[in-house]
Every structure is written in C-alpha cells, then in structure tokens.
C-alpha cells in the first residue's frame, strides 16, 4: 500500500506532462525541425550546460519565437526567429570542470 502510494506521488502529474509535451511539439511544428532532431538539440544543450552547473533536464524548455507572431519562413533580416531555452538549475555552484 505504502509503495503504491509513493509511486503515485512520485509520478509526475499528467497536467504538467501535457504542458511539457505540447511545448516541445509546438516548437517542432513551428520551426519545421523534426521532433527527433529537436530532441537531439535539447540533449546536446543540456549536456554542455551540465558540464558547468547541475541542471534539471526534465524541466528544460526550448522554444522558438518568431517576432511579431510571423510564421516561420517569413523572418526578415531585422526580425529573425529567436531560439531560446530555459533550464532549471539544481545547484548553481560550478562543477569542478574548471580546475
């Protein structure tokens, strides 16, 4: 009983799962980058950052914003699409890589 209870508690709530899946999916839809490639991009960024600080990869956000709500492919020189990412940091203390 107790084991099941903690398993339920540990399991991430489905609302949060939906939000995370959607953000990822919409980035793929909007950029035309295949989800698989996007996942690789995500993984690579995470790996590089986590060399320096301790991050929570599961909470990572990766999005592409086209300025003025233009659809992808319509970017101009003065308003390019912007890829931005936010990664929750568990521990801001630098890891021992810079020795």
């Amino acid at each position: 009983m107790r084991g099941r209870r903690t398993a339920v508690l540990r399991k991430k709530r489905s609302g949060a799962i939906a939000a995370r899946r959607l953000k990822f999916l919409l980035t793929a839809d909007q950029t035309g980058i295949p989800p698989e490639v996007l996942a690789m991009l995500r993984g690579d960024i995470c790996r590089v950052i986590s060399r320096y600080v301790d991050v929570d990869a599961s909470g990572m956000e990766l999005r592409v914003r086209c300025s003025h709500g233009e659809s992808p492919g319509e970017e101009t020189a003065d308003s390019p699409a912007v890829l931005y990412t936010a990664i929750p940091v568990r521990n801001l203390r630098l890891k021992g890589t810079i020795t």
Binding site: G15, A18, A19, K23, L26, Q30, G69
Partner: protein, 263 residues
C-alpha cells in the same frame, strides 16, 4: 458599422458552435443587434443548438446564389429581440461559396447589425478560409487538451499570417477539480503555451449538455457556464470584467470547497 467576429478552433468538437450560440445570445441580451452566421456548409448545426431548426426556409447558399433576399433567409429568434440567425446549407459543401462571396455577404449585413458572429467549421481548408475572410477579429476556442491546443496553435499561426487584427483565446471545458489535483492543464498553462490574450474561460458544465438538448442557449442564466459566456460578451463590448477561474463543483467535496471559497 458592425464588428465581425469569427469563432474558430481548428479541431472539431471543442465547442465552437456552443460558444457561437452563447456569445450571440449574450450579445443580444446586452442589447446589441446581433446576427449569427453558420458557415459550416454541409454540416449545419448552429440552428439545432439554438433550437431554431424548424424555422429554416432559405440558407446562406441561397443568399449567395441569389435564390432569395437576405431578409428572407434571416431567422429572427423570438426569445431575444435583437438576435438573428443565418443558417447554413445542409445539402451542399464548402465549395459552394468562396471568400469573396462571404465578404460581400458580411458587408450586406453591416448596416443592420452591431455584431456579426461567424461560426467557423473545423479544419483549415476552404470552409475556414471562407469564414475568416470577412472577419475583423477572431475568437479561438480550445480545451485544455494536447490535441485541441496543438490545432489552436496552427490556427493562430494562420490567422496571424492572414493579418487578423485581433485574436483572443477562449479556454472551454475547464475542470477546476482536475486542474487543482494537477491532472489538467490550467488556463494559465494554456495561455503560456499559446501566447494569445485570454478573453474568457468556460467551465465544463452539465448545464451545457442540458441546454443543447433543449435548444436553449444558457448565456446569462444562473449557471457557471452561462455566467462565463456572458462575461466574455461583456469583455467583447470593452467592459473590464475581471478574469475569474471558472469554478463548478463536482460532487459533495467540490461543492463544500466551493462554498468555503465563496465565504
């Protein structure tokens, strides 16, 4: 001059027609001369949701093709003095009308109404293009589900590309109890994902099913959804109505929590 509003969603079954019916009714209750146009040619439904299905003589395609005058096709809703419906054709398909004809149709109604409300079909094809063509602003209806939100995002992209001047979001069928326990995306989550301003959230309310069964829209009635729809109408008129999260109680515990919250 009237304001032309299209109610759209991309995905089917999220409540476009119910929303159109209730916003049309709400605007009429608030004293605005309103006409609702069902642009879903071949899958006519706004008439049944409104309970006006037995009064159809002519339809939108008849007007476009010149088989009748506009006045002959418009159905006056006797329950609300300011409300009219232009029904869709059931035996034709989307190709019966093109965007230019829709724009002309809307233009012909401009002098007689304050609000022209277009109920858009699901999808992103011809029917969508027709409905959007003459509109000044768009209301995108979605539910807090991944499929509906993905389609809403696509629709928002298309509206943006088509230079739609104003786009607002309606989050329909919100289950407060599920949001609270973390098993449904919150209205804030949806807004964050779609990055479009919210004009209202509507709770998942049994009263909607009952109202559709009876063919009597519930905007303005003493139900959670009815109040939410009327609030949306007030915001459309420019009133500053605070955005409250819809709170329908499910079961005894929910009702108790609701009471405590109100106290």
């Amino acid at each position: 001059m009237s304001e032309v509003i299209v109610v759209t969603s991309g995905k089917g079954g999220v409540g476009k027609t119910t929303t159109s019916a209730n916003i049309g009714t709400g605007l009429a209750i608030l004293g605005k001369r309103t006409v609702m146009i069902d642009t879903d040619i071949g899958l006519r439904n706004l008439d049944v949701v409104m309970g006006l299905e037995n009064r159809i003589v002519y339809n939108l395609v008849d007007v476009v093709e010149g088989n009748c005058r506009m006045k002959q096709a418009l159905i006056r809703d006797k329950r609300y003095p300011n409300l009219y419906l232009l029904p869709s054709a059931q035996t034709r398909d989307k190709s019966a009308v093109n965007p230019e004809q829709m724009m002309k149709l809307v233009e012909d109604l401009q002098d007689d109404f304050d609000y022209i409300l277009l109920d858009c079909p699901a999808g992103i094809e011809q029917g969508f293009k027709n409905a959007v063509a003459g509109a000044d602003r768009a209301l995108v209806v979605t539910t807090p589900e991944v499929s509906a939100i993905r389609d809403a995002d696509r629709i928002i992209g298309l509206l943006d590309a088509g230079q739609m001047r104003s786009i607002h979001l309606i989050v329909n069928r919100v289950r407060h109890d599920m949001v609270r326990r973390g098993d449904m995306m919150s209205v804030d989550d949806v807004m964050d994902i779609l990055a479009v301003p919210l004009i209202g959230a509507v709770p998942d309310d049994e009263a909607i099913v009952i109202s559709t069964n009876q063919g009597e829209p519930l905007a303005g009635t003493d139900t959670a959804a009815g109040q939410a729809f009327l609030d949306i109408c007030r915001r459309l008129l420019g009133e500053d109505v605070p955005l409250t999260l819809p709170n329908v109680s499910y079961g005894l515990l929910g009702r108790l929590a609701g009471l405590l919250k109100r106290a």
